[in-house]
């Protein structure tokens, strides 16, 4: 007889490793290893996602998002928005966007430097807003897990 299972939604950390230049994502997990440890599990996905947003906000404090995923010179390393869209959304947040080439290039670590200079003058909401635009830089993820259920 098939065993009963239940789905729980686990908030799990995304693993970043440092290569002496920047942090890169380590997505290959050992199924038995520590890297798949959940921060917290929930019965509903929306509750897990709310917990994830709070955990992301706490983790981001004091970090430069352009340290995660590349050299700070190519927008596509950090998010999926087109360069013009990214700049437009920054203006909507009340921020002066960095100069970007048509393909989202900003040579000489310019994105990293832009954050270093702009972040100090940003409100917490503006900082959160920028992080939200950079959808490849995430520290947590919600994973549905099948768990054996006993009565």
């Amino acid at each position: 007889m098939a065993r009963k299972q239940v789905t729980v939604y686990a908030v799990q950390p995304v693993h970043w490793a440092y290569n002496d230049e920047y942090y890169y994502r380590e997505d290959e997990g050992d199924p038995e290893g520590d890297r798949l440890m959940s921060l917290k599990s929930f019965l509903r996905r929306d509750r897990a996602e709310a917990h994830l947003r709070e955990a992301e906000r706490r983790h981001r404090r004091g970090l430069n998002p352009f340290n995660y995923g590349g050299y700070g010179e190519r927008l596509a390393d950090y998010g999926t928005l087109a360069p013009a869209q990214f700049q437009e959304r920054l203006r909507e947040l009340g921020l002066q966007p960095p100069d970007l080439g048509r393909r989202g290039r900003a040579p000489g670590h310019a994105l990293w430097e832009w954050w270093e200079q702009a972040a100090e003058g940003m409100t917490a909401e503006q900082q959160d807003g920028v992080w939200e635009l950079l959808d490849r830089v995430r520290f947590y993820t919600v994973v549905p897990l099948q768990v054996e259920l006993e009565g």
Binding site: V6, V8, M37, S38, L39, L43, V147, E150, G151
Partner: protein, 159 residues
């Protein structure tokens, strides 16, 4: 039709990471995770662990009592093969007691832990030697005292 679940008790395995190793000459029979050191012939080592944030779901229950019973059983199984003093490298990682109270608690349980200023390595060696002679009650009292060395927990999940 599947019944909607509004309350669940999850037995979770807590996260311990290897942070170093204890070189030993003789292997206590109960130790499972002993390794051969490839760089030194005949040298053996036992991993040292530190608790990290996080837990992995193992089993779910609708009944809290059954979840707690499962958690206790798994906790006992985990303790059968470990030296709790290798799970953490400072007394405050083992217990909420201070060093003096920990020692008094164990003396009251009829045990004879190392005397003097707490030396982590001495306590690890003491447990390796004493472990097989412990009564069930002494094991229980030791586990009560080392309340930060835990491998499983029950979490309640609600809608």
């Amino acid at each position: 039709m599947a019944r909607k679940i509004s309350r669940l008790f999850l037995v979770e395995r807590l996260c311990w990471a290897v942070t170093g190793c204890d070189f030993v000459k003789a292997i206590p029979a109960y130790v499972r995770d002993v390794q051969l050191d490839p760089s030194r012939k005949g040298q053996l080592w036992i991993p040292l662990y530190r608790r990290l944030e996080g837990a992995a779901p193992v089993k779910a229950f609708l009944d809290e009592g059954k979840a707690e019973a499962c958690c206790r059983r798994m906790e006992e199984e985990a303790w059968a093969r470990i030296n709790p003093f290798r799970h953490g490298d400072r007394p405050e990682q083992w217990t909420t007691f201070d060093a003096g109270r920990l020692r008094d608690w164990l003396l009251d349980a009829g045990l004879e832990p190392p005397a003097g200023k707490l030396n982590v390595k001495a306590w690890r060696g003491w447990y390796d030697r004493a472990r097989d002679g412990l009564t069930e009650l002494q094991r229980l009292r030791l586990r009560e005292a080392l309340d930060r060395v835990r491998f499983y927990q029950v979490s309640e999940l609600t809608e």
